[in-house]
């Protein structure tokens, strides 16, 4: 029998041998009984995004001026973490993202479930916000007819939002 391998995390003999094949690359990890729990190596999704990033234009990744307006995330942060800062990053880093997504997934367009109710609620909320801005504007410009009409619309929009 071969000599017992050493744990990849400490010096104890390894008793657990994990193998993972991702994109035809074999990753092997030998660990003792106590370590895998702490190390989190058994996460099947924890593979590096670096492979995918290679396909994105280098100039975009190193573009220092590119930053997500909503959360301040930069391409360098993405390179480091393999994750985004906020939902808006998907817009901000659109160009870096496309080639990556087409390598990772079946297609780059979502064809699955849609959160219908949440989307409807959000669009009603947006409409209400817009109406409130319009009202403010009409009050400022002393346009009383418009203000009255907008107040009715706002009341309607509020009810619509509350009943969904």
């Amino acid at each position: 029998m071969a000599k017992p391998e050493q744990c990849g995390n400490c010096t104890k003999p390894a008793t657990i041998h994990l193998t993972q094949i991702i994109n035809n690359k074999i990753h092997k990890v030998d660990l003792c009984e106590d370590c895998p729990f702490k190390k989190g190596v058994t996460d099947p999704e924890g593979f590096s995004l670096a492979d995918f990033l290679v396909q994105s234009p280098a100039s975009l990744i190193s573009d220092k001026s590119l930053k997500c307006e909503a959360c301040g995330f930069s391409p360098a942060d993405f390179k480091k973490t393999g994750r985004f800062g906020c939902p808006q990053c998907y817009d901000t880093f659109h160009e870096i993202l496309e080639p990556m997504l087409s390598n990772m997934h079946k297609d780059v367009v979502h064809r699955g479930k849609v959160p219908e109710r949440a989307l409807a609620r959000m669009s009603r909320k947006r409409r209400l916000d817009q109406l409130e801005r319009d009202l403010e504007e009409s009050i400022k410009s002393e346009n009383y007819e418009d203000s009255a009409r907008l107040r009715d619309l706002i009341a309607e929009a509020r009810t619509a939002l509350e009943t969904t």
Binding site: T19, L49, C71, R83, V109, H110, K113, A118
Partner: protein
């Protein structure tokens, strides 16, 4: 301990509410979801995370699915409790590694759980014993729709559900099955199967067990792609490939029975002997031996109704569970002793093996 009620409660996954099956141990659906306009947990600061946790908790507790459920904040748990939750697949390792406003909401059935502030704001998972994607997806889908009713999800028409990592974007769906494949491991066909499965866009997790014993022969197979296909298509594709693997495993077992039945019976007989009489068992060894006993059930050598007992034991002999039952943080050597005692006690009440179903192969010595 905070999690004692969870451990003691009867649950399908731990008590075989449904009759456990050969080959497919369990099925799981996971959905990654995030709240609109909020930094993802890995990027948000502490106050943002606390705010997300409170909001999600408030909304989730109103859902019928989580009525009488248990919420556990990770920072309230001991290391041992965290380990037990991981061993039960109720939380991920990533979740317990961060104590900053992270938690899990577990439904009373323990088949449904939502992690809050893991990699994504919300990670809903639905687990079933056996090969049961339809039920698991139905429940996950329904709960997701209830959650969506209360919370505004980050969603784009183009990319679908927006997730912290682009590997999950789109459906946010990870469907997976735990498979018991001792036949393929013993025939040394597993590496080939893993490559085939991988080329079809699925991920395999588990040991290939080159050192013949070090494995338990348990593999998790899941989809890797989440964007560009509907949930149904993803699940259907996975099911098709799983059926192919099940067929391969069945064939491998047939080949072993035909050509190497003595070796097979010897392995199972020895496993039974050690489980029944051993006094020191590491978790790895115990998992391997119990894996052979599960195979014995599948082959008709051991009674069918013992499959659920074996599955339950396989969970309870993990390091966290052993320490938890002993009510102490104990050294591995003592753990091995407690583990062996526990298994011995169980096996004392089990029937003996019945090898009469297997015929000894005539060409036994041809290979050497």
């Amino acid at each position: 301990m905070l999690i004692t009620p969870l451990i003691e409660a009867k649950a399908e996954l731990t008590d075989g509410g449904l009759a456990p099956e050969p080959i497919v141990l369990s099925t799981r659906i996971r959905l990654a979801r995030n709240l609109s306009g909020e930094a993802f947990p890995g990027w948000g600061d502490s106050s943002q995370r606390v705010d997300i946790l409170e909001r999600c908790l408030d909304k989730l507790s109103r859902l019928p699915a989580f009525k009488d459920g248990t919420f556990l904040q990770i920072s309230d748990l001991t290391e041992l409790e965290k380990q037990v939750l991981v061993e039960r697949h109720l939380v991920s390792r990533e979740l317990i590694e961060s104590e900053d406003a992270t938690g899990v909401f577990i439904a009373p059935s323990q088949q449904l759980a939502v992690m809050i502030n893991e990699e994504d704001h919300l990670r809903l998972q639905c687990m079933r014993s056996g090969f049961n994607f339809r039920k698991a997806w139905e429940e996950a889908d329904a709960t997701d729709s209830e959650m969506e009713d209360q919370l505004d999800y980050a969603f784009s028409d183009e990319y679908g559900y927006l997730t912290a990592c682009p590997t999950n974007v789109g459906t946010g769906l990870r469907a997976s099955a735990m498979l018991h494949l001792p036949g393929l491991v013993m025939c040394q066909h597993m590496e080939k199967v893993v490559r085939m499965v991988n080329q079809l866009g699925l991920a395999v997790r588990g040991s290939l067990g080159e050192g013949s014993e070090a494995t338990g022969s348990i593999f998790q197979i899941s989809n890797q792609q989440t964007l560009g296909e509907s949930e149904d298509q993803i699940i259907k594709r996975l099911i098709t490939i799983l059926h192919a693997i099940i067929e391969q495993e069945t064939n491998a077992r047939g080949v072993l029975l035909e050509n190497q039945s003595t070796m097979l019976m010897d392995k199972i007989g020895r496993a039974y002997g050690i489980l029944r009489n051993g006094h020191l068992l590491s978790s790895q060894e115990a998992v391997n031996l119990l894996s052979l006993m599960r195979l014995a059930v599948d082959l008709g050598i051991f009674p069918e109704e013992k499959r659920a007992h074996i599955d339950r034991l396989s969970m309870e002999i993990q390091p966290g569970h052993v320490q938890c039952s002993a009510n102490a943080d104990i050294e591995p050597e003592l753990r091995d002793q407690i583990r062996a005692t526990r298994i011995r006690e169980q096996f004392a009440s089990f029937p003996t093996l019945d090898f009469s179903r297997i015929q000894i192969s005539p060409n036994l010595n041809q290979e050497d």
